[in-house]
């Protein structure tokens, strides 16, 4: 089963929940933690593990062949992303704007735009005990996270069976990278904080997840802060609240030191146990 751990707002505790939950679950069963927040993959900072596999990830972009080109203009006409332009003496390709759709390359009448691989990042797979950590890391300067997230998800599919429990730490927001990370999840845990900002972005995330037809539940992090509006919203919308992680200075201290929280803060551990039970219930319902 694949569980995406997402949020609308950034900084609500996706990585905190992902890492600690995975670590807790791995004490009793095999778990995969996949860090799909490829623009800033932080899960690996909290887990020391040995390398199983590593690969460079590429995507295809057109490269211009001057000898072939007749400057017919088709390429810049068909590109929906303004990634190509004829300047009169050459065709310039802006690879970072290219979405690898192949239109220019396929429709070029003289095959002057062959697609070539461009490195966009790295994928790594590490293991410690029953916990596997798979992580995508986008190269500096790359703007598009989606192809790397897609490759990381493919790798998970190649490597693990569908009944392995995979926790996916998703990118924040509700844009393409988040959607890519969430769209095929069996279940989505939305981590939020009980503040007006948290609620505002939670609503966007719920709309997105519902639009994708994914079932979801909420985990309230830093409970005790802010107000009760998130709780009221979840009640009104019929969204279960799986757990309420307390607003704790000690938890923040652990995080800042790069340590897991649950061994040090029992109130947090108790709430994470509730999330673990919640996930196991869903798993059983899915299997039944």
């Amino acid at each position: 089963m694949r569980v995406a751990i997402a949020s609308g707002k950034g900084g609500t505790g996706k990585t905190t929940v992902s890492v600690n939950l995975a670590d807790l679950l791995a004490q009793h069963r095999p778990v995969v933690l996949a860090d799909l927040d490829v623009e800033e993959p932080n899960s690996g900072l909290f887990i020391q593990a040995g390398t199983v596999h590593q690969e460079a990830v590429h995507r295809m972009v057109p490269s211009w062949e001057a000898d072939q080109c007749t400057f017919c203009g088709v390429c810049q006409e068909v590109c929906q992303f303004n990634a190509l332009i004829e300047t009169g003496s050459e065709v310039m390709v802006f690879r970072e704007l290219c979405h690898s759709c192949y239109a220019c390359s396929e429709l070029c009448p003289v095959e002057a735009l062959p697609m070539t691989p461009m490195k966009i990042g790295d994928l790594s797979h590490r293991r410690t005990g029953a916990l596997d950590l798979v992580q995508g890391c986008l190269d500096i300067g790359q703007e598009q996270a989606v192809p790397l997230i897609a490759r990381t998800l493919d790798y998970l599919g190649e490597r693990f069976s569908r009944d392995t429990l995979i926790l996916c730490d998703a990118p924040p927001g509700t844009a393409c990278p988040m959607i890519e990370a969430v769209k095929d999840a069996d279940f989505v845990l939305l981590v939020t904080e009980p503040t007006p900002f948290g609620l505002h972005d939670l609503k966007l995330a719920v709309e997105t997840v519902r639009g994708l037809g994914r079932p979801c539940a909420v985990v309230i992090n830093r409970h005790g802060l802010g107000n009760a509006d998130v709780e009221a919203y979840c009640r009104q919308e019929g969204i279960p609240v799986a757990a309420r992680l307390p607003h704790s200075r000690e938890a923040a201290r652990c995080y800042a030191r790069g340590e897991r929280i649950h061994p040090h803060v029992p109130e947090v551990a108790a709430q994470l146990e509730m999330v673990a039970e919640f996930i196991q219930r869903i798993e059983q319902e899915g299997a039944a």
Binding site: Q76, F81, N82, A83, L84, I85, E86, T87, G88, S89, E90, M92, F94, L97, E143
Partner: protein
């Protein structure tokens, strides 16, 4: 010589638009004929990325040899303009198009390279 201006309107008394990629209009003055012609660029409002590349395409289609603008183009636009041979002048942000033309003609605008 044809000189293009990034502008907020379609007439020479319009204010310059200081932006290149997301300029509202391109106004081109043909010194030979004394005529202005314009191109509506407002459809770039809906373009998330690559606005400057799209604007540069419109600029090339209008056949201008010189571009007068405000802030100066960003990375992508700058490389396109440099390699296309269009001479770019900046610093005309607060002016009307007419004033910007005079400023360019009298060499008061900074060349962007």
């Amino acid at each position: 010589m044809k000189i293009a201006f990034t502008s907020q309107g379609t007439t020479p008394d319009a204010l310059m638009d200081p932006r290149f990629g997301r300029t509202a209009f391109l106004l081109v003055y043909d010194e030979e004929s004394g005529q202005y012609e314009h191109c509506d660029n407002r459809q770039v409002e809906g373009v998330a990325h690559g606005a400057a590349v799209q604007t540069a395409r419109r600029l090339f289609e209008m056949g201008a040899q010189v571009l007068v603008t405000g802030n100066g183009p960003g990375g992508n636009a700058a490389s396109v303009l440099q390699r296309s041979g269009v001479q770019t002048f900046i610093g005309a942000g607060g002016m009307t198009v007419e004033r910007a033309y005079e400023a360019w003609k009298s060499g008061k605008l900074q060349r962007f390279e």
